[in-house]
Amino acid sequence: MQRKIMKGFVAVVLIGILTTSCATMEEKPKTTVGAVGGAALGGLIAAAVGGNAAAIAASAVGGALLGGVIGNMLDERDKRLEAEAAQKALETAPTGSPVAWQNPDSGHSGSVTPVKTYQTASGGYCREYQQTVTIDGKQEKAHGTACRQPDGSWKIVK
């Protein structure tokens, strides 16, 4: 008797599970077929904030980010700090999130902010960035594009 009741209960649970699954499938509008779905979209865009950090390559950004008079006013440590900030920003920072650097010895500071990401035909990544450098209280801004190299470094292309 107990066995029969148990079997009946299992059958009811299974039917319940199957019915729920079928209902869920049918309720989904046809327009979402092929879409990642709302839950997946939510997960994907939430993860974009903060990013899925890849390992930061030891090599720094190739080429000085800021040329001209301002570029010449940066000392070696400024340039190293700037290059490290740029590498970090380009490799891991979400679009719109600045990575700042500061050299207490020279008093110079700055930031690098990725503003747009795109992929080249060969599958490589490029990112446009905005850069600020503050020297003696005066801030200079620059805009450029860097592309990721196979070794993980970023090379300025524009």
Binding site: Q2, R3, M6, K7, F9, V10, V13, I17, P29, T31, T32, V33, G34, A35, V36, G37, G38, A39, A40, L41, G42, G43, L44, I45, A46, A47, A48, V49, G51, N52, A54, A55, E91, T92, P94, T95, G96, K116, T117, Y118, Q119, S122, G123, G124, Y125, R127, R148, G152
Partner: protein
């Protein structure tokens, strides 16, 4: 002996149901509002197709561990089922290209754009995500 097996099965079903209930009651709070604001380039409070594409390329880039140029299932397994991944991996090579990724997401864009304005408000995205979790 049989009743023991049924008992174990029922216990598993109950545990699974409770776990599902707990997840449903405590969904992770996605902080995508910041991403929305960042990618609303013209600041009109809506994400048009161009802005959406830029946003999703950014998502793809950050999900692509080690920046290989494509996604494997491990890169997005916390947002997509394996079945879902395979459906989108049209040539079955285990890699999701940016084009395949964007094709899928633009179907979400169309589905979320309930008033067919060609752009998404924060409310439309929120409702679309919320509806999928019900």
């Amino acid at each position: 002996m049989k009743s023991v097996r049924y008992g174990v099965f029922i216990a598993l079903v109950v545990v699974a149901s409770l776990a599902e209930l707990a997840i449903a009651q405590n969904p992770a709070k996605p902080d995508w509002g910041e991403g929305f604001r960042t990618h609303d380039e013209n600041g009109d409070g809506k994400i048009d197709r161009g802005e959406f594409q830029n946003w999703m390329v950014d998502v793809f880039f950050h999900r692509d561990t080690n920046h290989k140029g494509y996604l494997v299932f491990a890169d997005i397994q916390n947002s997509m089922s394996l079945e879902g991944f395979k459906v989108r991996d049209s040539n079955g090579d285990g890699r999701l290209t940016l084009e395949e990724f964007l094709n899928s997401l633009f179907q979400d864009f169309e589905a979320a754009d309930v008033n067919k304005s060609g752009s998404l408000s924060m409310e439309e995205i929120g409702n679309y995500i919320k509806a999928a979790r019900k």
